[in-house]
């Protein structure tokens, strides 16, 4: 496609709105003011549209397309909050069934379209990826022509360019030495000054124009960081529930590390025990109501030798550490954070075998709730057998006792009690606060005699090699934002023509500040303060409306 040569001699790319060097409008425009966006440069996408590559490029180069991609992503994200995400469903349900049972056809559709695991669904990731592509192409397509236009700009501007700037004035002037004074004042205000045939271009804060693009680079680095999470080994995020006294494999470490929970402590602020400054606060909410510490006293072990799951591991102690909120145990890039807890989980229950009539006890048994024994001998011919055990007891749909999980939340037992006078045994169903005798009246009873509990701690296992990439992305993002927000790109043109001095000015934001600056610069020089042509046009329009109303 041919290029356009301006009368000033500069060769512009096809599609340029006004000459890069002198600013003479190259296209016929009806509007009184020039559209200064992108310096009138030819956004390339708008000009070449030949091959398939060009068509794809032009599609992504459109800001409209980019905005729509973002809007669609936002709507999808919003829909994803209507029903719970898959990861928050109760354990041991089948998602396909659960959504349909709970929410009917809408739930089924929700599941089938992948809203149940929104951030992991292929089309959501594709949307994010397309936003990334749009970001790159939009930026490239604008920053290169903009750079070119700003780099090629001339000092002497065409009259039509100056007259059609928003701020413009023309002053009849005899003494051209005034310009020297103005130049000095501009230099003092950190304007970069270029001069050509007695014409002046004063410019400052050009680097502010690169802010949006720096910001986009930051976003792209951030997206790359997010992408790295899918690379094996880069990111681990698991939860470990561990009871006091237990030693368990740390999930996500491929069987390499083990953790022992020696003790979990939950402390609150107690009246009288704390520093006096806390008294008022403690009084307000009540003693023992505010959490002070969540702490897991842990020992970290490393497995020695080859990893074979299930095999009794040979362990080497690495270190002891008290894990508190925000004070994770860190080792080998893994971090274990205190995240949740459960106080007083049942550990064992004790029962006494008694005669229901006399309440005479024939001995006590203690049932370990994680690994109960089958038979308990009390001596003298008294014996108890555990026929069935339900750690998390409920009656299922068929009306049979069953367990909801393997966690001893609500234990229930079927005991068979043997005594010298009951050699065939009596069966008793014992749950918390209830005893059922399924085969009629028993002579003996398992009387509740106490419990033993322990605390359970939940730790998040985290390993994240993408964090520094995300950090850099975030920092670059902020730098770009600041660069574009807190500096303005200001330009002031002064041109001597036919005994007049023409003054025109442009800024990308904060016109008020620019006007004040011009006022200060021309003060006392006799140059007319430029008028704001945009404001006048607006006022004229407003006045018309008023008139007709």
């Amino acid at each position: 496609m041919e290029q356009v040569k301006c009368e000033c001699g500069h060769v512009n790319p096809y599609g340029t709105a006004f000459c890069e060097a002198c600013g003479k409008p190259l296209e016929e425009v009806e509007k009184p003011l020039l559209d200064m966006r992108y310096e009138g440069s030819a956004r390339r996408s708008q000009t070449y549209n030949k091959t398939v590559i060009d068509k794809i490029w032009n599609f992504f180069s459109s800001v409209k397309v980019g905005v729509w991609l973002i809007v669609i992503t936002l709507i999808a994200s919003a829909i994803g909050t209507i029903f719970p995400q898959k990861m928050y469903l109760p354990p041991n349900v089948t998602p396909a069934q659960y959504y349909e049972d709970e929410y009917g056809w809408a739930g089924k559709l929700y599941y089938e379209l992948g809203f149940d695991n929104l951030y992991g669904s292929w089309w959501y990731m594709l949307l994010i990826a397309l936003i990334g592509v749009s970001l790159v192409i939009c930026s490239l397509d604008r920053v290169i022509p903009l750079y070119r236009a700003l780099n090629n700009q001339g000092v002497t501007r065409h009259d039509a360019f100056l007259r059609r700037q928003r701020l413009f004035s023309a002053t009849k002037i005899e003494d051209a030495r005034l310009l020297e004074a103005i130049k000095e004042r501009l230099a003092k205000r950190r304007y970069h000054i270029r001069e050509e045939n007695g014409n002046i271009l004063a410019e400052k804060g050009r680097f502010s124009r690169w802010g949006p693009y720096v910001n986009h680079i930051g976003l792209i680095i951030f997206l790359i960081g997010a992408m790295l999470r899918f690379v094996p080994g880069m990111y681990v995020d698991k939860v470990l529930w561990i009871r006091e006294g237990e030693t368990k494999e740390i999930p996500g470490t491929n069987g390499e590390y083990f953790l022992k929970n020696e003790k979990f402590t939950f402390e609150t602020y107690q009246k009288g025990k704390e520093n006096a400054v806390f008294n008022a606060a403690i009084d307000r909410v009540g003693s023992g109501m505010v959490a002070k510490t969540y702490e897991t006293k842990a020992v970290l072990y490393k497995r020695v030798g080859p990893v074979i799951a299930g095999e009794e591991p040979k362990l080497k102690k690495i270190k002891e550490y008290k894990i508190r909120v925000n004070e994770p145990l860190k080792y080998d890039h893994y971090a274990l954070y205190q995240v949740d807890f459960k106080l007083n989980e049942l550990k064992s229950m004790s029962f006494a075998l008694i005669d229901k009539q006399t309440s005479k006890s024939f001995g006590m048994i203690t049932v370990d709730l994680l690994q109960p024994k089958e038979s308990y001998d009390l001596g003298n011919g008294y014996r108890v057998e555990l026929l069935s055990y339900f750690p998390d007891f409920y009656f299922d749909d068929d009306g049979n006792p069953n367990t909801k999980s393997r966690v001893p939340n609500n234990p229930a037992f079927v005991f068979k009690m043997y005594a010298p006078d009951k050699p065939k045994g009596e069966v008793s169903f014992v749950a918390i606060r209830q005893t059922i005798e399924p085969f009629g009246n028993n002579k003996y009873k398992m009387a509740f005699a106490g419990i033993d509990t322990r605390n359970v701690s939940a730790l998040t296992v985290r390993r994240d090699f993408t964090l520094w990439v995300l950090g850099i992305g975030g920092a670059v993002f902020m730098i770009g934002l600041i660069q574009g927000m807190y500096w303005n790109h200001r330009r002031i043109w002064l041109k001597q023509t036919n005994g007049e001095v023409w003054l025109a000015a442009h800024t990308n934001k904060n016109w008020f500040g620019l006007k004040r600056e011009i006022q200060a610069v021309i003060d006392g020089t006799g140059i007319t303060m430029p008028i704001d042509q945009a404001e006048i046009a607006k006022k004229a329009q407003g006045g018309d409306e008023h008139g007709t109303a």
Partner: protein, 174 residues
């Protein structure tokens, strides 16, 4: 010449972006983040059954292994157990072994369950969740079909019909 350069530049940029997007989607959906995937070698493990015998997966090389993870509270597991038991009787002679891994419940509960259904295949208990972690079990039941070379042939989550169980056992016959 300018035009050619532009086309090349655009093509290169688009290809780079396509590669990045393609890799992300591929890495996330067509590969597993761990070694647990169809075609990979099943992680070795060693667990003890109710009779005190240890079972090591690698000792079963040369046979097809029907590896089932289950819990007594899990109703879908309960439904498919009798089917597995029935088919096991037929396929045991043909070199298919069943290993049922219980997810760390009390031996008592597991024993009662095994007795209730008269299960004849070895039932091992994963007391410390190590094997569950290694196989990334979620949800129950999950069944791994492992061929005679120790490679994972298929991963089935959810309950199976007797017909399916039969089909699966047939597929890993050595």
């Amino acid at each position: 010449m300018m035009k050619k350069q532009r086309l090349v530049m655009r093509t290169v940029v688009l290809l780079l972006l396509l590669a990045a997007v393609g890799y992300t989607i591929y890495a996330n959906f067509f590969t597993e983040k761990t070694e647990i995937k169809v075609g990979a070698t099943a992680p070795d493990f060693e667990l003890t059954d109710l009779n005190g015998n240890t079972h090591r997966l690698s000792d079963y090389r040369g046979k097809g292994v029907f590896l089932n993870f289950w819990g007594t509270w899990c109703k879908p597991c309960e439904r498919e157990m009798p089917f597995i038991n029935e088919q096991y009787k037929a396929y045991k002679k043909q070199g298919v072994e069943v290993l049922a891994v219980n997810v760390g419940e009390p031996k008592l509960s597991v024993q009662k369950f095994v007795d209730r259904f008269g299960l004849t295949f070895p039932v091992v208990i994963d007391r410390e969740d190590q094997v569950m972690n290694a196989y990334e079990i979620d949800p129950l039941p999950t069944t791994f079909l492992i061929d005679k070379n120790g490679k994972i042939q298929a991963i089935i989550t959810g309950t199976m019909t007797e017909e399916k169980v039969k089909q699966y056992m047939e597929s890993i016959k050595p």
